[in-house]
């Protein structure tokens, strides 16, 4: 194990736009909204930024390639801007780049900004297309819900869970996120929903119905990072520091080798284990105060809580139904509404999760403020269960 990044980087300021169907705004306005808040929160002048990381996932439908869109939109002082894309982990990847720059000493203050403007395609759901030219010749004519629906099929098969039990559990996942999202003024969906409505919603890709799928949203989020020493020297209180950053990427064994049964995320198990080690966490079920995980689909969240080593394999659905992850449960998960209700502008999502952690640690989370959180974990999963990138970040109070 490498030496790791624990407590080498502190969050100096953060910003997050309102998420949702932002018909009136382009990516530029969304970026500025998050940036203005982050700069003000950090209390710095833009000239103090040494480097920037810029994340998007489907930039072909909005800003296009390179670091130029961020640099020109925000009129950055001709600093390095690196455009990163790693599917749904893009936001956390931008954060990882900025943190590593600060930890290495190459930058004193760096910014990570993610944006996605998805609602300019003319149709619902994620922008389509079938990927690389060879993939187009043989990959199944699938969608994200169809790929994640198969996680549900395989999970039921692997653990002998009935369709009815699983449907109830994943409905609870979505119900809980709607309850939480209702308390978040920046969330895309701010309305609590009845359990019956969730259970009886139209099918998108069986067994996933409409409420099992997260929103397709526009939005941006940003984090400005520095060292704890510089933060302290700037007079910052309640400093939040980075404890671990890990990323695990599929190498094709799940999709091509018959050793994987389809019921779990191989990469998430690896990334989370390494992250706990990097952060010095021995018993995550006892030590982690809150989670923001990648609930692109309700079943993804349920299975992820097993792969993050919180629920036992095959028992996550019971923890969910027992309210373990509810706002008033043992470890609240998606206290901000999650991808489900806060929304999922892909390149911004990882940073949005960190934004909620940051607010919670600083006691600034308003109606959804948790009591005395100390350690939080964020998680992103890009791709499909059979082939994906899985990123985790652990942040907490700097003590």
């Amino acid at each position: 194990m490498a030496r790791g990044i624990k407590d080498k980087v502190a969050i100096l300021g953060m910003g997050c736009s309102k998420f949702g169907e932002r018909w009136e705004s382009g990516a530029e306005e969304l970026m500025l909204e998050a940036y203005k808040e982050a700069i003000a929160d950090a209390g710095i002048d833009p000239k103090q930024l040494n480097a920037a990381w810029f994340s998007t996932a489907i930039d072909e439908v909005h800003v296009g390639k390179s670091g130029i869109p961020m640099s020109t939109t925000l009129r950055l002082p001709n600093i390095p801007v690196t455009h990163v894309e790693n599917m749904c982990a893009s936001g956390t990847e931008a954060f990882r780049g900025a943190c590593y720059a600060v930890a290495s000493g190459a930058a004193d203050i760096a910014i990570a900004l993610g944006v996605e403007k998805l609602k300019d395609t003319g149709y619902g759901g994620l922008p389509g297309g079938r990927g690389a030219p060879l993939q187009q010749l043989w990959n199944a004519n699938g969608t994200a819900p169809g790929n994640f629906a198969q996680l549900a099929t395989a999970y039921m098969t692997a653990h002998g869970v009935s369709g009815e039990d699983l449907k109830k559990a994943i409905a609870h996942v979505s119900w809980k996120s709607h309850q939480n999202g209702a308390k978040n003024p920046k969330a895309h969906l701010q309305k609590a929903v009845e359990m019956d409505t969730i259970l009886n919603a139209p099918m998108i890709a069986s067994p996933l119905g409409l409420f099992d799928c997260c929103g397709v949203s526009d939005g941006a989020a940003a984090a400005i990072v520095t060292t704890p020493e510089i933060a302290k020297a700037m007079g910052k209180q309640n400093i939040v520091s980075v404890k671990a950053l890990q990323l695990s990427v599929s190498n094709g064994s799940e999709s091509g080798h018959n050793s994987w049964d389809g019921s779990y995320f191989h990469t998430t198990r690896i990334a989370s284990k390494k992250a706990y080690e990097e952060a010095g966490i021995k018993d995550p079920r006892k030590e982690v105060s809150m989670f923001e995980v990648h609930d692109c689909f309700s079943v993804t969240e349920l299975v992820t809580m097993e792969d993050l080593h919180i629920s036992k394999p095959g028992e996550g659905w019971k923890d969910v139904l027992n309210g373990f992850y509810d706002a008033d449960g043992t470890i609240p998960c998606q206290i901000d509404g999650g991808l489900k209700c806060f929304g999922h502008p892909i390149g911004a999502s990882g940073l949005r999760m960190l934004y909620e952690m940051y607010l919670q640690f600083q006691g600034r989370a308003g109606a959804r403020q948790l009591k005395d959180p100390r350690i939080g974990m964020t998680h992103n999963l890009g791709g499909a269960p059979r082939e994906n990138v899985s990123s985790v970040a652990i942040v907490g109070r700097y003590e």
Partner: protein, 480 residues
Amino acid sequence: MVGIVAYGAYVPRLRLNRQAVYDANKWFAPGLRGLAKGERSMANWDEDSITMAVEASRDCLTSHKAEDVRNLYFASTTHPFKDRQNAGVIGTALNIEQNLLASDVGGSQKAGTSALIAGLNASKGGEPTLVAAADKRLTRVASNTELNYGDGAAALLCGTENVIAKLVGHHSVSMDFVDHFRGEDAEFDYGWEERWIRDEGYSKIVPPAVKAALAACKLKGSDITHFIMPSLMPAVPKQMAKICGVGEGAVRDLLGANLGDTGCAHALVMLVDALETAKAGDKIMIVAFGQGVDVLVFEVTPENAKLPKRKGLSGWMARRKEEKNYMKFLAFNDMLPIDKGMRAEFDKKTALSILWRKRDMIYALVGGKCKVCGTVQFPRTPVCVNPNCHAMDSQEPYNMAGLEASVMSFTADSLTFSPDPPAYYGMITFPEGGRFMADFTDSDKEQVKVGAKMRMTFRIRDNDQMRGGFKRYFWKAAPV
């Protein structure tokens, strides 16, 4: 002795209920009532003459090695490509590119028999020759042809070893009798009056040709045990048989009741039907009409009874799903301007250079087998997928098209664009090793389950209508 050494057939699973067609169109064409009984075969949206010919060829090659085939003739009047060898696509799908002479035969309803005669001649020297025929003809709404036609294919392997039906003789005449035609730019057939076709066409062209063939074979009409003569006029084959001295009992059923006329493939489809039950010594006569006539005479040998079992026409006919939704028939044939939504607009341009590099993978479903650890995988890649191996440049080609797979996980997706929603797809695994996320076809809710056995089938994946209809083919999984 040259003759047929193996046969195969293919019929799409869907059978369009003719009453349903009539019910939709009777307001306009009440005269079609007499045809409103039984059903016709109906290709799925992802089937065309190439895919059906591939299936019939695979059925035919159940008992023989594909790589021994030296000549491949593909007869159709609905070749998906005007310039791009259609038979070559079939050859690549059968993974038999090397040492193969492939040819397309078309242009007439006797293309199937003309290809068969060419195939028999080509295999006289012992070179196995595969003759495949398939048609999927578009028809006008509320036309006779809409009810009479069917979609289907047959394949015959010609050769000199273990002949099941030896060629006794054949005779052809070619004359430009235009009973119907389909011009270069036309989608549909244009036909002349049936009575004229019967009286001036069949009645004057067929009997002399049949008599010439019988004379060449030193046979009498009454020697014929099976008289195969496709025709859209059911009484005509009986009349021709009578004129030629062929017994009425020898006239084969036209398969009109639940298949329909499969175009230039139909003579060969009917031949497969006959061979499935024919006894040693039976004499089979085929009469195929179309700008002249081809007549072939075969004698069934004792080898026919020893031919290993295959699905054949009866097997594919038994796999059946009734379709009463006439709108679906129109939509599958692109004759209904249905609102497909924006997800149907994604560009389907094919990188032809990639297709060439990966043609064994895409067209023949050839994966890899690692020489170091033995792991079978799809696709074949530079580094072995086995997490305990990861050997480099270690894989040999491994053909997976004939392997049975099982469903590991699946979904029914209503979001993605499919001409037949919801789209079924899922992870399929091969017991030999290897897996991939495959589109399913010919699938129903009741059949698709975890653990269900699946058979790989060559299908259309996309139709690039922006570029004149370049069809992308790949393999899909269908319930066994």
